[in-house]
Symmetry: C2
Subunit: 345 residues, 2 copies
DNA sequence: ATTCGCGATGTTAGCGCTAACAATGCGCGT
DNA sequence: ACGCGCATTGTTAGCGCTAACATCGCGAAT
């Protein structure tokens, strides 16, 4: 006499939605609605279900939900690097805004490598995310193809190329260069130099340089661009630049550095060489890294809207998904940078 | 004559594993094995399947896989904050190590708030993650309960409390305080002060203080602890501390700051007051924040193994899951901090 | 020749949830 | 009284994948 024993036993005894439904004396779909469209459930049942959920310690299985509804409450973000002072704020703003609305963040870093980006995008798509957020607009063919087929909102951040199709949130690096140069010109500086970023592949920094160049040219002066050795770390490159520029004659009376790391190096080298900043030479950075206010003299810089980009990206995602209200989701979102004047100008 | 049309149509025409199987002339499970245990599939079929996968652009649906196998290739991490200079490296190391083995990172921040942590843990558990990584050992009751029931590897990082049950990866903050004090004593400093962190809730900083206190006492001296106002930002608190200590008589000849932000403030205030560092007074920080080498004088500090914690956490997770080999996964992992000597000592 | 073991492959039955459709009951206007 | 619309609840059929078991074929061991 064989006992017909069931052959499978996988789900490890977790409390399921069905168990809750049974205990509450309603059907499964009602419990499902309680979680997803509570306004469709009568108050009495809501209370009943809430009690059972608390009692059994039910945790909704989002995986099953995601499979059934073909769209999970999860959003992927690929960022060049997590630990840099720049992107960290964007991640923070993004993550916080999302989680406030019950969405989870899947994160991966690409290190400016489009193949790593492609791998991350592929893996993310496997989780059927509600949306994807990428950095910059330069992707591999494979990535572009997958994104086109995925049929979910895709947002590109930090870079701003209005002619591209996907939703964009960023600011104009060219404009930053213009702002920097114009700001110094207005303050009466005459010989303004620009120190380029030593890291290859940072195309945004080149746009800032171009903005600077166009502006000084417009003011009837020749651009003066110093390019440090490509193999130096930013801080060292900044020192090199300052040393070289201070040996020129005539010297520049103001220097725009492509970022705050370079500027910090410049500040230090200047000080070691006995240059008075800003009396002998003004220094302006970009990024408003946390240390900018801690240097001596404290570093004037241009602050990019890092946190805002993250928050706005999340907002646009939630709008696209109908979680937040909006008549029509804006495709282009141009933010502004801010000049932070401290002592080095 | 009614045409029996199927009633559902959800999956939006995505390429499925079944489609691949059909096109390759094998069964679905063989394709599944091709992805998960390729060594179990004969080389000929592997090739065949690979070709079809590429041709159709198949992207495995990890949600379905996760549901079927009751354990997704995804790992959750809850960290106090993403943008701080401390934890960013841990996230980076963790994320990179995981993704190298095909696991994805779910990230959330708690802002040192155990209720936010609980929410994050609940949401993460809904994705049936393969493991969870938390920061510190102080959790809400609800969190503890969920973790106990979840039956997955849980790792607590940064803090190190050997008596606790879960796997731990961190270092001893007390030991950091001891190291700092001992290092300065050995260099011949006589009157060593300690500046406490102004932020309430940073219990680790208090342990460092206690390590310092125990060590100087052991050397026959009285601990000298300065506590800045609790409502000041760290940088400002550091300034306040330096000003106060420099007005004492006799002055301390060395100061340990609870972290680099405080130390940077101290350095600046010292300089403004005409104090020669390190000749008049040495300064030692903690954290090795990125700006430490950029200050003038550059800041000597104690560098915590932030990146290593992340990498090791990921390694232990992968070992627990059998992805990486290991006879027996170590439950306790004590890492060491490193004294970085620059100019301020 | 028969058995055994083992590697490669296939069949079946869900995993836990939700979309789509169905049904029910109630108040309302005619 | 009847039909209609609306709010609430239920029924059914999967979503795409993999665990568990079943099968098949072939060489080695007996």
């Amino acid at each position: 006499m064989n006992v017909e024993k069931p052959r499978k036993r996988r789900g490890a005894g977790r409390v399921t939605l069905n168990a809750v439904a049974r205990a509450a004396g309603v059907s499964a779909i009602t419990v499902s609605r309680y979680f997803n469209q509570p306004e469709q459930v009568s108050p009495e049942r809501r209370e009943r279900i809430a009690a059972v959920v608390a009692e059994l310690g039910y945790v909704p299985n989002l995986v099953a939900g995601g499979l059934a509804s073909a769209r999970g409450k999860i959003v992927g973000m690929v960022i060049p690097n997590i630990s840099g002072p720049i992107f960290a704020n964007t991640i923070q703003g993004f993550s916080d805004t999302l989680s406030r609305h019950g969405y989870q963040l899947l994160l991966a870093s690409s290190y400016f490598d489009i193949e790593q980006e492609e791998n991350a995008v592929r893996a993310f798509l496997g989780w059927s995310p509600a949306a994807l957020v990428l950095t910059s607009h330069f992707h591999s063919e494979g990535t572009e193809k997958m994104l086109a087929e995925a049929d979910i909102p895709v947002i590109e951040t930090w870079d701003y190329q209005p002619e591209r199709e996907p939703m964009q949130i960023g600011f104009s690096h060219f404009e930053v260069g213009v702002t920097a140069a114009r700001h110094l010109l207005k303050k009466g500086y005459q010989r303004i130099a620009f120190v380029q970023n030593s890291a290859p592949g940072d195309f945004s920094a080149l746009e800032r340089r171009d903005g600077y160049a166009a502006t000084v040219r417009e003011a009837g002066r020749e651009p003066w661009i110093f390019a440090p050795d490509a193999d130096r770390a930013p801080f060292e490159a900044g020192k090199q630049a300052m040393d070289a520029l201070m040996n020129a004659s005539p010297r520049p009376d103001a220097i725009i550095f492509a970022n705050d790391n370079l500027a910090a190096g410049g500040l230090l080298a200047g000080q070691r060489a006995g240059i008075k900043i800003p009396a002998d030479c003004a220094v302006l950075g970009f990024g408003d890294y946390p240390f900018a206010e801690m240097l001596l003299p404290s570093l004037s810089t241009i602050k990019p809207p890092a946190l805002e980009i993250g928050v706005l990206a999340a907002t646009r995602v939630l709008e696209s998904l109908g979680v937040l209200p909006s008549d029509e989701v804006q495709r282009l979102n141009l933010l502004r940078c801010q000049v932070i004047e401290r002592e080095s100008i």
